[in-house]
């Protein structure tokens, strides 16, 4: 299992459009991806649930990636988070 910690930089938080692109990217991997904020967690491949987390600028989230392609998935995810959020 891989784990990523990430603090959201984007003043808009996790907005619909970049979140949608992120979800699309994640769906190309077989690994399970779960995002944690405080005591809440959701499947990160689900756009509406991810948006429902209400993640704002300055929030720190933890993401767990588990599966056969977890290395590649984590690398891609990290890149995408840095670029878009």
């Amino acid at each position: 299992m891989k784990e990523i910690e990430f603090t959201v930089n984007d003043p808009n938080g996790i907005h619909a459009r970049p979140a949608g692109v992120l979800v699309k990217t994640l769906k190309t991997f077989s690994s399970n991806v779960t995002i944690f904020k405080g005591d809440k967690n959701v499947d990160m491949k689900k756009l509406l649930a991810l948006m429902g987390m209400g993640i704002k600028q300055g929030d720190t989230v933890k993401i767990q990636i588990e599966g056969d392609d977890e290395e590649a998935c984590a690398a891609e995810l990290e890149k995408s988070l840095k670029e878009n959020f």
Binding site: N12, R17, G20, L47, G52, G54
Partner: protein, 546 residues
């Protein structure tokens, strides 16, 4: 004549017959179904068709309203692929044996409610997106053709409310204006109308179905609509509309043209912007580059010191998306009237003459170096200019350049490459004007900040209205300083621009051209009007005495 009021989305006038749109009434049956599989298939089919429609709307909106406004539809398409939403709908069909229409309504409404109850205002508004895609799926299920809301003649469309999908579907050639009872100035519908250049009135409580077929004027300037207007009003507003359209067409014609006078002198017309969100405006108004990118937004929008990474991302976005156009970023101009809590600046008796801009940066060097490194990193992605504000001595400029060198070396140690960039100085004080020759010797360009230069030359606080009788914004002292700076710059190998408010003062454009100015940097909306004036100037003619 009836006068109806609302909120205006766009300064513009529409004149024509009203078409009142009433959405078709649909009744969702609560009768239970027998064939679950068939009903699931109906839902899937409708959902996929709705996705295709949203993708098609995206393509249409990109052309009609631009990429930013169009994004809402690609989000809709993605939302329609959401597993939770699909599962919730299917569960209602499977377990409760309801038909697809009923299941869609219940499941989508639940999701809309989740968003509506969130604290974040942005997320709250996403409930409108869910209702929009719900309508899209239901329309397919009911076989309703959403294209049929307009009549066959050009008209002002009146409706209770319009979803973004409905707005983009409208045939622009038949759409003169929009009036809705609901909606807000920031709704997607308003944004779309604005970027399509359609006059629109929202929150117009007077909307009535009896308006259908009547002649009306939508006056966006005054946020009202006249139903069955008087002849006089009709004539005067028709003239205004025609003048508007002429102006618009003219400006459109100027896009892609050069800023060249009749006798063949070309100058640069750049844009002043306040953050990466203005990049679209730079492109839309056909600016040659950015002459003043105020970097304060990175400090003012932040609760703590913005990191190098954060700043780099913002600068890179601007530089990269506008490349190969030049983007001139002014380093931190905090202090005086721009205060930031976390910086704990000392309260000063006279902040305009205090520790602001470059003085603050050279006092807090680590803070300054964070910005310089972010800028240097961004220089690898396009055509960057770095401009220092409030310089009054060559020593300050030397120190800035030394810090740039120091930062470059530190970045190289981190294996980060630095691109080419040019260096400029803002001329904002009489002191800088006097030594413009020496400054020009040490940098690539000078940019005259006329707001501060006027204030410091005339010793008049521009915010103090009591001094208005004493303030002459065309004061000969300021104009001579501009002339001196341009000449000094040219003698010593630097190009010279103007980025203050005087740059967009069209009554001075010819004067500045005669002085030999190389660049004028103005608000994005002033670019095309300025281009128009430049193209009408002939420098061979004797200047008119003013």
């Amino acid at each position: 004549m009836q006068v109806a009021t609302g909120k205006s989305v766009l300064n513009g006038i529409a004149i024509g017959k009203i078409k009142v749109y009433t959405p078709p009434k649909v009744v969702i049956s609560e009768k239970l179904i027998d064939d679950v599989e068939a009903e699931l298939a109906r839902f899937d089919e409708a959902r996929e068709k709705a996705i295709d429609q949203q993708n098609a709307l995206y393509e249409k909106a990109v052309i009609d309203a631009g990429e930013d406004s169009a994004e809402v539809f690609s989000v809709h398409a993605m939302m329609l692929e959401d597993d939770d939403l699909i599962d919730a709908t299917k569960a209602i069909i499977q377990t409760q044996k309801h038909n697809a229409e009923y299941a869609v309504k219940v499941a989508f409404n639940n999701q809309a409610r989740v968003f509506a109850e969130m604290d974040d205002p942005y997320m709250k508004e996403r409930s409108a997106d869910i209702y929009d895609i719900e309508q899209a799926v239901l329309n397919v299920l009911f076989g309703i053709d959403p294209e049929s809301m307009q009549g066959t003649e050009p008209a002002i469309l009146v409706a209770n409310d319009l979803t973004p999908s409905e707005t983009v579907r409208l045939d622009k050639s038949l759409l003169l204006g929009i009036i809705t009872r609901e909606g807000s100035l920031n709704s997607h519908t308003a944004i779309l109308a604005r970027s399509m250049g359609i006059p629109a009135l929202v929150q117009c409580g007077d909307v009535a179905s009896k308006w259908d077929g009547k002649t009306a004027i939508l006056d966006g300037y005054n946020a009202c609509a006249y139903i069955e207007p008087t002849e006089d009003l009709m004539t005067s507003l028709r003239n205004k509309r025609d003048a508007d359209l002429k102006q618009k067409a003219l400006l459109q014609e100027l896009k892609g043209q050069s800023n060249t006078t009749i006798d063949g002198k070309t100058i640069k017309v750049y844009a002043n912007i306040g953050g990466p969100s203005d990049i679209g405006l730079v492109q839309k108004n056909d600016a040659g580059g950015v002459g003043l990118f105020r970097s304060e937004f990175v400090y003012l929008n932040s609760k703590d010191y913005p990191s190098e990474e954060e700043q780099f991302n913002a600068y890179r976005l601007a530089v990269e998306s506008l490349a190969p156009k030049q983007v001139i970023i002014r380093t931190c101009d905090i202090g005086a009237d721009k205060q930031v809590d976390y910086m704990n600046l000392t309260k000063e008796e006279n902040p305009a003459m205090g520790c602001r801009a470059i003085r603050l940066c050279l006092t807090r060097r680590d803070f300054f170096k964070t910005q310089l490194k972010a800028l240097l990193r961004a220089s690898a992605y396009g055509n960057l200019g770095i401009m220092f504000p409030m310089i009054i001595s060559t020593r300050e400029l030397h120190e800035c350049k030394e810090l740039l060198q120091e930062c470059t070396e530190e970045l190289q140690k981190r294996d980060i490459s630095v691109g080419n960039y040019s260096i400029g100085v803002m001329i904002e004080t009489p002191a800088a004007v006097m030594i413009a020759d020496e400054l020009a010797e040490e940098c690539d360009f000078l940019s005259i900040g006329t707001n501060d230069l006027t204030q410091y030359t005339l010793a008049i606080d521009r915010q103090n209205a009591a001094l208005d009788p004493f303030l002459n914004t065309h004061h000969p002292a300021v104009l001579r300083e501009i002339k001196m700076t341009i000449e000094a710059g040219h003698r010593h190998g630097a190009w010279v621009g103007i980025c203050g408010e005087l740059g967009s003062d069209l009554t001075l454009t010819e004067t500045f051209l005669r002085y030999g100015v190389d660049e004028l940097s103005v608000n994005p909306v002033s670019i095309l009007p300025l281009r128009k004036v430049i193209r009408g100037i002939d420098l061979r003619k004797e200047p008119e005495m003013k």
